[in-house]
């Protein structure tokens, strides 16, 4: 696959996105307003941060199913550290993010040290981290955060939702890393041929460990933003978010087998999904219908890329 086919996939996505925006704004005059679009951006930030990290993970041929549980655990810990242990909120949030990051590191350790397939490892920690979140929370939610905290999830900076800035910065940094640095190159090399990467003296284990840790970090940051956006913490926060993230990544052209994918593609995939979700809800379809849509889009996207790939190489 050459650079040309990347561009082709992303151009295709962009056209699809423009088309979707066009149809949706024609369908409902409430859709194509600055307020609505910015609000959609607000809504997709958590999934977006996770999907950007997931792009790297999937590009190495791995997967991280535990991100939703890490999000839930971090959210709960933020609340519990602050309310029950009396830690100042900023410190509580940082400590919770540290735990979430560590949870990602543990995933990486299980995968690199014990050579457990990423799918199984993160499926197991999905259960573990969610269980921990439930155990810590004892089914109580934490509310009543100070006003300044809501700036993150509900406020605006220069007229744009605060968290959208974070997503934007994360996307740009990640895109640059994946495309122009040796870490990005190593990520692709591992995904295409892990053995050859190792034989070229690249640090395969170290890179993977770092990526799963980053994935945990992204989920943890998303958790704090999530709490700030919805003003409360519950232990079931973020369940199923892994699916949204994976769908965005795969829709964005990243091969589920690894070796191929871009951050730009993921962001486009993300926007497309969010636009469809928003359009459906404006058209009166309830929230659960959109879950279905994500499933259908995921399967169709992989099906298309599987057919495309088979005709493309050899």
């Amino acid at each position: 696959m050459t650079l040309r086919s990347f561009i082709r996939h992303e151009t295709f996505l962009a056209i699809l996105l423009v088309l979707a925006l066009f149809v949706l704004s024609w369908q409902s005059d409430r859709f194509f307003t600055v307020a609505n679009l910015l609000n959609q951006g607000r809504l997709m930030t958590e999934t977006g941060l996770i999907a950007i990290a997931m792009t790297f993970v999937i590009a190495t041929g791995g997967i991280d199913l535990s991100v939703g549980s890490i999000l839930g655990l971090t959210a709960i810990l933020t609340g519990v550290f602050w309310k029950n242990l009396g830690v100042p909120l900023p410190a509580a949030a940082v400590a919770a993010i540290a735990v979430g990051t560590f949870a990602g590191y543990v995933n990486g350790l299980i995968i690199t040290r014990f050579r457990v397939p990423a799918l199984i490892a993160t499926l197991a920690t999905l259960a573990l981290y969610r269980g921990l979140a439930e155990g810590v929370s004892q089914a109580r939610s934490v509310r009543g955060y100070p006003d300044w905290f809501y700036v993150l999830g509900q406020g605006e900076v220069l007229g744009v939702p605060t968290q959208l800035w974070i997503l934007l910065i994360a996307a740009v940094v990640a895109a640059v890393i994946l495309a122009y640095t040796r870490w990005g190159r190593t990520t692709y090399a591992i995904g295409s041929n892990e053995v050859a990467a190792r034989f070229s003296g690249l640090s395969v284990e170290g890179t993977k460990l770092a990526l799963y840790t980053m994935s945990g970090f992204a989920a943890a940051v998303a958790a704090v933003i999530f709490v700030s956006r919805v003003s409360t913490t519950r232990s079931d926060m973020g369940s199923g978010i892994e699916l949204d993230a994976i769908t965005a990544v795969v829709l964005g052209g990243t091969s589920i087998f690894g070796g191929r994918g871009t951050v730009l593609g993921t962001v486009l995939g993300l926007c497309l999904i969010q636009a469809l979700k928003n359009g459906l809800s404006l058209a009166g379809v309830k929230g659960d219908g959109t879950i279905m849509l994500i499933g259908i889009v995921l399967i169709l996207a992989v099906l298309a890329s599987a057919i495309f790939e088979r005709s493309g190489t050899r």
Binding site: A124, K286, D288, A306
Partner: protein, 334 residues
């Protein structure tokens, strides 16, 4: 499928071929199963010592009957994993099938239609999944992740989260007894034994091990891998359908949700029962025993006063420990 007169585990004839160390071979073939069985026994003895009410008839019924559907679904899952695939949509599927079943029962269709039509639906849905996996070469994890959200989203948007009640009493087969034993228990045992015999004594069953153990060699042996994969998913749908009958007929109402992480429990029952996560080995006896072990642990934690809130964390830890142990064991032998 005629298998009269054979016992499980297969008793090898005592001939001159018989080498000393029958026990050793039993350990080699059914090691993981025996360990799980031992764990169940130890757990029963220990918890009963703390709280004798643990082995009351009531609790035993709730452990075995209440979780039989997990064991039945795990049979199909074990077969899928043996071929080197996975199905994470099974929990959502059971939820959907239960709703279909209940709706049919309330709408006045004959009881047997309400029971078995969902089985056919399960087979059809999984057949489709199997085709996507086998012929379009999409990893089963991706297909079933997609199926999971389609089924889950579809279920909630159709039912709107309402419960189905006023089920006809005759429909509630899971509450009935057969020869003095709860029907789910009987169903679990019969299905496990039949499936185990079939996996051991039919060429089809053995070919599933071949597909998961070494696909390339399976092709060279003339086994049609794609057809086997589709077939194993259809079988998985079949067992999910049977599991649904046991699940949906437990209570007077059918909720539009299934227990959280049901698919994970089912997958892990198969894995802890000795089915290699990489495919190619394991038995359905092990998966059923592991399902019983899970149920026992769940019940035991309550009886020794572990907070219900920590239940899933404890189970998660157990799952992780088993996966790591499985991996270490594998690395030692290879």
């Amino acid at each position: 499928m005629a298998m009269s007169g054979v016992d499980l585990p297969p008793v090898r004839p005592q001939t001159s071929l018989q080498r000393p160390g029958f026990l050793r071979r039993l350990m080699a073939d059914y090691g993981q199963e025996l360990i799980v069985l031992l764990a169940i026994v130890v757990l029963f003895v220990a918890v009963t010592a703390v709280n004798p009410r643990f082995i009351s008839a009531n609790n035993l019924t709730s452990i075995f009957s209440g979780n039989a559907y997990i064991a039945v679904a795990a049979i199909g899952m074990a077969m899928v994993i043996i071929t080197g695939n996975i199905d994470v949509s099974i929990g959502a599927l059971i939820g959907v099938l239960a709703t279909i079943s209940g709706t049919l029962a309330v709408a006045g269709y004959p009881i047997w239609v309400a029971w078995f039509f969902p089985v056919l639906v399960g087979m059809a849905i999984n057949g489709l999944i199997g085709i996507l996996v086998a012929y379009f070469r999409i990893p089963s994890i991706v297909v079933t992740l997609g199926a999971l959200s389609i089924l889950r989203g579809g279920l909630i948007s159709v039912t709107g989260g309402t419960w189905i009640s006023d089920l006809p009493p005759a429909f509630l087969i899971a509450q009935q007894k057969w020869l003095g034993l709860p029907v789910p228990l009987v169903a679990m045992i019969v299905l496990t034994v039949l499936a185990a015999l079939w996996m051991r004594y039919s060429a089809f069953g053995r070919s599933l091990y071949a597909v998961g153990g070494n696909p390339e060699a399976a092709v060279a042996t003339g086994i049609p891998i794609e057809r086997r994969i589709v077939a194993v998913f259809i079988l998985n749908g079949f067992f999910a359908g049977l599991a649904t009958i046991l699940f949906a007929t437990q209570l007077q109402v059918i909720q539009s949700t299934v227990p959280p992480n049901l698919e994970l429990t089912i997958i892990m029952a198969a894995v802890i029962g000795g089915v290699s996560i990489l495919g190619g080995s394991g038995t359905v006896i092990g998966s059923t025993l592991a399902a019983i072990l899970f149920a026992t642990i769940g019940s035991a934690l309550i009886f020794v006063n572990v907070s219900a809130y920590w239940l899933r964390a404890v189970i998660g830890l157990l799952i992780l420990a088993t996966v790591l142990a499985d991996m270490l064991r594998r690395r030692r032998t290879v």
